[in-house]
């Protein structure tokens, strides 16, 4: 059974008196352990799809299943629970909480899961070590470079051991060298720890690292290679 399954998914946004079809009759299946990129130009529906897979939004029509859970029928509480237990997010602008230290940011999801303090600190330190963030635990996000902040964001996404990590344009704010380093790091996590990654990006560098590239145009599936 696929980890993520989208069946004829349509998402329509109201825009004033009109409606915008962001995703149109889209179907896709992603298995556990995949390293997938949703590629396409701006406005092709990548982020909308990622938001729906990540339980941030629900489809207007169609079905989305995440690890056996029907997202379209879930209540707000169930959606937030699914986000907490099944999904890890990496954002384009890192979106770290500025008042917390790097380690506290990474611990945040574990805190929400009510994991005991010692345990979560150990888990985060292990991740920091794997991500090359040793010694930066007590730095505030403002004291970190873009690449370091994105590594902290990866640690935060990985910390709770989610079923899938969704990365929305994760390299858009980084230079090419840092982007390359991060992509290799995520590839390593995918290969060594079996973490499932789904990216949305139009960056050729990200696409070149993907094992599977799903191309979108105007909210529809263009190709799946």
């Amino acid at each position: 059974m696929a980890l993520i399954s989208l069946k004829s998914v349509t998402k329509i946004y109201p825009l004033g008196h009109q409606e915008v079809v962001a995703v149109d009759e889209f179907s896709l299946s992603i298995d556990a352990g995949e390293f997938v990129v949703l590629a396409g130009p701006s406005g092709s529906g990548k982020t909308t799809l990622l938001n729906m897979i990540g339980c941030l939004d629900q489809p207007t029509r169609g079905e989305i299943w995440l690890d056996g859970h029907d997202i379209g029928c879930a209540s707000q509480k169930e959606l937030s629970d699914l986000r907490l237990r099944k999904v890890g997010f990496i954002f384009q602008d890192y979106n770290l909480i500025p008042v917390l230290t790097a380690a506290e940011n990474a611990e945040f999801t574990l805190m929400l899961q009510q994991v005991e303090k010692k345990q979560r600190r150990k888990r985060v330190l292990d991740l920091f070590s794997a991500l090359g963030l040793d010694g930066l635990e007590n730095r505030k996000p403002s004291d970190l470079s873009g690449g370091q902040q994105q590594r902290v964001a990866i640690a935060r996404a990985m910390a709770s051991g989610p079923a899938v990590i969704l990365a929305d344009e994760p390299t858009a704010s980084l230079d090419s060298q840092t982007s390359e380093e991060l992509l290799l790091l995520m590839q390593k996590l995918n290969e060594e720890q079996g973490a499932t990654f789904v990216f949305s990006s139009h960056d050729p560098l990200v696409i070149s690292h993907a094992k599977r590239v799903v191309r979108l145009r105007d909210g529809r599936l263009e190709s799946d290679q």
């Binding site: 941030l56 986000r83 890890g88 500025p98 008042v99 611990e107």
Partner: protein, 410 residues
């Protein structure tokens, strides 16, 4: 790191805004506590001096005397003075006789209220009599010495040692006169009292009008003013066998003073409520601004798994922290201000000349605070409650954030 730590750190994102809000809350609480304690001290002092010179903390009258002050409504206290005196918490029981009449000197005559008192106990308790020396005070219950109000003395053109005549109505209806000598003069500061007060021994007054052993009033002075409502039931028990008598608390016996204090305090409470409302709006503003500024961040927090309830809790904890910090600081400053107002006070003589009369009672021109700890605790918890109430709207706002919409927000 937990929600409490996060909330605390969030508060200090905008250090200046948080400090201004904390200062407003703290200052308001300090002012409210200090001014309440000042009023509490002034009221307590007014009540104490008022009741000691007036009806007492508790009082016993013949039924109907309070309403029409008819001198015929006197009663024989029998053993009541001794029995009431034995109730725990009672300092003194003062039998008094009030007789309207006329005082005449060789030059002038004036209407007076002759008050027959027990010289020994009266002097111990009545604050206006403390100014008199032994040579100026009544010698006995049945002597012919008299204490006059300062204005009455002046209007009768008398001096200490001078003689004058008092004319009263005898219980039989006849007019009776008796000569007294001025022994002392008191100045209460209350014009109506200073113009009509004439104090003599109770036995002499009673004998003069032909009602020996009778009194109009038994003023009960308590050791502690606050214990009035605890002692009152015992007084009522003692009066059970005397259907013609009624026991009253000072609030009922001195309604002018009681209502004046109530009215004054009501206006203060109104100002307190306005102050609280203003600071509540300040807290709402701080929390709401803080929520709106973190719209995108809240979207992130929701995206990584927090529930809307967690976000609402976070806003409430921030409000709680603001409330707790200002509660502690405000109470500390409120206590300091109370201590100063108790030790030094506010000298009203710098602002108002002449004596200060309020509700028929003259009060000390140096206003001093008195500790009302239960009220201080209560009002500081009100402040905490208001901080919570102030968080309701911002938390509703935070609870309605859609994570996908918030993530698109810039």
């Amino acid at each position: 790191m937990d929600l409490l730590t996060l909330a605390w750190k969030n508060l200090w994102r905008s250090r200046r805004r948080t400090l201004i809000t904390l200062a407003a809350l703290t200052f308001s609480l300090m002012l409210i506590q200090a001014f309440h304690n000042l009023s509490y001290g002034v009221y307590s002092s007014m009540i104490d001096s008022g009741v000691r010179a007036g009806t007492g903390h508790l009082v016993v009258y013949q039924d109907g005397y309070l309403q029409n002050r008819d001198e015929k409504l006197s009663f024989d206290p029998q053993n009541l003075v001794a029995e009431i005196g034995q109730i725990d918490g009672v300092e003194a029981v003062l039998p008094r006789l009030y007789l309207p009449g006329l005082a005449q000197s060789s030059r002038e005559s004036r209407s007076i209220l002759l008050t027959g008192v027990d010289p020994v106990h009266e002097r111990k308790t009545n604050p206006f009599l403390r100014q008199l020396t032994d040579q100026q005070w009544l010698l006995s219950l049945d002597g012919r010495e008299a204490i006059l109000g300062s204005r009455l003395l002046k209007e009768l053109q008398l001096k200490r040692g001078h003689k004058f005549v008092v004319t009263l109505q005898h219980s039989s209806g006849e007019l009776v006169s008796e000569m007294f000598r001025v022994r002392g003069v008191i100045k209460t500061g209350i014009k109506s009292v200073d113009r009509s007060l004439l104090m003599v021994g109770q036995a002499r007054a009673a004998e003069l009008v032909g009602t020996p052993d009778r009194v109009h009033e038994l003023a009960v002075i308590l050791k502690e003013q606050k214990s009035g409502h605890g002692v009152f039931p015992f007084l009522q028990d003692l009066l059970e066998g005397r259907q013609d008598l009624e026991g009253l608390t000072w609030e009922k016996a001195m309604p002018n003073l009681y209502n004046a204090i109530r009215l004054d305090y009501a206006s203060q409470k109104f100002i307190f409520v306005i102050m609280m409302m203003i600071v509540t709006i300040g807290v709402i503003n701080t929390l709401l601004m803080s929520v709106m500024e973190r719209f995108r961040e809240f979207g992130t927090i929701l995206a990584i798994g927090a529930s809307h309830a967690k976000l609402r809790t976070l806003v409430f904890i921030e409000a709680l922290l603001l409330g707790v910090v200002s509660m502690v600081l405000g109470s500390c400053f409120g206590a300091l201000a109370t201590w100063y107002l108790q030790a030094v006070g506010i000298d009203m003589r710098n602002f108002i000349s002449g004596s200060l009369e309020f509700g028929g009672v003259v009060f000390d021109p140096v206003l001093r605070a008195s500790w009302d700890l239960p009220w201080m605790i209560k009002i500081s918890f009100y402040l905490l409650l208001l901080s919570f109430i102030a968080a309701i709207y911002p938390s509703i706002k935070a609870g309605r954030i859609s994570p996908a919409a918030a993530m698109r927000h810039h």
